[in-house]
């Protein structure tokens, strides 16, 4: 029998005490979850960029996708990589941090400082593991709303996000229509498809099949289900790309060799790339969080909460919507976005919709796709005019921010156009 260490040999550093901002909610302020459990205490880790104006009218909430986090426009505290959405958010970007106050929270169930299965269960003093209650997209949004309350913001100028972030956008618009002036759901769907649930199940089974998973108690047992989580990430990563993008980037090229080795070594570049994606992922992500957050996506079916009619979710909504999809996205195909658009039309909503032609697959929302920025920039500008937000960034808008935060907000180098894999 292997030695069981009493002290964990590995634990993600940001789980309980994140280096970002964090808001803690005590027993007086529990979070009622869809599964019926009152989660308390809990905490929400978040980042902000830019300055909240005096009317508190310029707040933008960015919702992150499955495995991304609140560090959207600053260096990541664990990996050191630049923020995951610096193409969209930053000075002079469509979500201009000279103009808007941008908030991004780590979602409920994740592992970068918001309460999740890796967090310490106050009842036992040990990590929650699988004792953590199941969370839903609606729970994530409820938690965000509590943070927005704490920040004293009555209504958000914009809520936006791609993929699972887009699910949160739709949930925000349905749950709190009066608090969302405009909404930008990108590459997303109002329900998770059977195919997507199937892919998620493959990933979860890979994690749980790893003997180091230890029925979810790996942190206490001093192990890490890195192989299982790595395989889950590799399989998922394929779904974020497109056949064309893979072909263009890798073709059948061999990795650092002249000829096949007649072995199961990573002969092909695409294999090497996927292995790298899997390995780097496990350094920053908790395996149980992966189970919980994928499950939250699987359970998402907005229409089901409204008697099966998606239009009812948006009835009477005055929110301005701009729905965006990508032609080569086979994970959240355009048909999913059209279903949302048709429901919004049926509800008499204000909706714009663009399907952007690109061969870069689902990941396109994270990449340097000029049409995406033209669409979102145009939509945001028009909505800001309608809300009466000042069109010209005021000089020294970030002057009253602490120095460190100001530097972060200004640090937005352009992403390489050839980059095809990213955090979601």
């Amino acid at each position: 029998m292997t030695t069981r260490t009493a002290t964990p040999i590995f634990r993600l550093s940001e789980v309980d005490n994140p280096s970002s901002l964090v808001e803690r909610f005590g027993s007086e302020d529990p979070l009622r979850l869809d599964c019926g459990v009152d989660l308390t205490p809990f905490q929400i880790a978040y980042q902000t960029y830019g300055t909240l104006d005096s009317r508190k009218a310029n707040a933008v909430l960015v919702c992150h996708a499955l495995t991304a986090d609140q560090h959207l426009a600053n260096r990541h505290p664990v990996t050191g990589a630049q923020g995951w959405w610096t193409t969209m958010v930053g000075p002079g970007r469509p979500i201009d941090t000279n103009r808007f106050f941008v908030i991004c929270t780590n979602v409920l169930g994740a592992c970068m400082g918001t309460t999740g299965p890796a967090s310490t269960n106050p009842a036992t003093g040990k990590p929650w593991g699988l004792d953590f209650p199941m969370v839903t997209i609606r729970d994530m949004v409820r938690a965000q709303a509590k943070l927005i309350d704490r920040l004293g913001i009555e209504s958000l100028f914009c809520v936006l996000g791609g993929s699972m972030g887009g699910m949160q956008v739709l949930q925000w618009a349905a749950s709190y229509p009066e608090r969302v002036f405009c909404a930008l759901p990108i590459a997303t769907a109002a329900k998770h498809s059977a195919q997507n649930i199937a892919f998620h199940e493959v990933g979860r089974q890979a994690v749980m099949a790893d003997p180091d998973w230890r029925k979810g108690r790996y942190i206490e047992e001093g192990t890490r289900p890195s192989k299982g989580l790595g395989v889950a990430r590799m399989a998922a990563h394929i779904t974020y790309l497109s056949e064309k993008a893979l072909h263009r980037k890798f073709g059948r090229n061999l990795q650092d060799r002249e000829a096949p080795t007649f072995s199961f070594d990573a002969d092909f570049q695409v294999e090497s790339y996927l292995r790298h994606q899997g390995m780097s992922f496990v350094e920053r992500f908790d395996a149980n969080s992966y189970l919980y957050v994928t499950r939250a996506m699987d359970y998402f079916d907005l229409a089901a909460d409204y008697g099966g009619a998606l239009a009812r979710a948006f009835q009477g909504s005055r929110t301005r919507f701009c729905v965006v999809s990508f032609t080569s996205d086979w994970l959240f195909p355009t048909a999913d976005s059209r279903a949302t658009v048709h429901a919004l039309n049926a509800a008499g909503g204000s909706v714009s919709f663009v399907e952007i032609a690109t061969d870069r697959g689902h990941d396109a929302f994270l990449l340097d796709v000029p049409e995406l920025f033209a669409t979102t920039g145009g939509f945001i500008d028009a909505a800001a005019r309608a809300r009466g937000l000042s069109p010209v960034p005021s000089k020294g808008a970030s002057a009253d921010l602490p120095r460190e935060r100001r530097e972060r907000a200004e640090e937005t180098p352009a992403l390489s156009a050839t980059r095809i894999g990213s955090r979601r």
């Binding site: 301005r320 701009c322 729905v323 059209r338 658009v341 048709h342 039309n345 049926a346 008499g348 204000s350 909706v351 714009s352 919709f353 663009v354 399907e355 952007i356 032609a357 049409e371 033209a374 669409t375 920039g377 145009g378 939509f379 500008d381 028009a382 909505a383 005019r385 309608a386």
Partner: protein, 210 residues
């Protein structure tokens, strides 16, 4: 603000002004094939309408969205079916009918979705087209119909009289009709259909369900 809209309307699209005059101020409008949004913008600024658009091209949609208009990328032939009955006061189809795959179905959907439908289209019965075809023996290429036959998006041309026939067929009533000459001026108002059918370069119809 009224000065904004006029310069954006090219002389060949004076039908847009005629269309705009048919729309009651403050109504709800769906513009099918709204292009860069010139009509929707004019309607919203001058008539205070609550406008929506459908446009096929991504470039057109982007222009519209940047103007603050609510426009979805879509196709008149496939996307009208998703709209509920009576969702709009007016459904407008300007210079697009002839480019649809199923003009009759499109017109029926328009009359279902909107209390009224406004349709403008180029008249293939115009005397210049007739003479072009008669004397040259080739498909006409004119200022308003600028494509050669092999690459034209216009697959269902009709004359004014053809259109009046379709209106009967789909059980609609003509509330108002205007034929415009080459300069965009209305052709004599009380003229009979055959006269319009020869001298109208384009026509604008205001229809409602019977």
């Amino acid at each position: 603000m009224a000065v904004l809209a006029l310069p954006e309307i090219s002389p060949t699209r004076v039908d847009l002004l005629t269309v705009a005059e048919m729309v009651e101020p403050g109504s709800r409008v769906l513009d099918v094939g709204c292009g860069d949004g010139a009509l929707l913008k004019m309607l919203s600024e001058r008539r205070g309408v609550d406008g929506r658009g459908i446009e096929l091209s991504q470039a057109g949609v982007n222009e519209c969205v940047a103007k603050g208009l609510h426009v979805i990328q879509g196709d008149a032939d496939t996307d009208l079916v998703a709209y509920p009955d009576d969702a709009f006061d007016y459904v407008i189809l300007s210079q697009t009918l002839q480019a649809t795959f199923a003009p009759r179905t499109v017109l029926e959907h328009m009359l279902r979705i909107g209390r009224r439908a406004i349709v403008s289209f180029p008249n293939f019965g115009h005397w210049r087209i007739r003479t072009h075809l008669t004397f040259r023996g080739r498909m006409p290429v004119t200022e308003t119909l600028a494509h050669a036959w092999y690459d034209t998006p216009n697959i269902h041309f009709c004359t004014i009289r053809d259109f009046v026939g379709l209106v009967d067929l789909v059980n609609a009533r003509v509330e108002k009709a205007v034929a415009l000459d080459q300069a965009g001026h209305p052709v004599r108002v009380n003229a009979p259909w055959w006269f319009w059918n020869i001298f109208g370069q384009q026509a604008v119809f205001l229809l409602r369900r019977r």
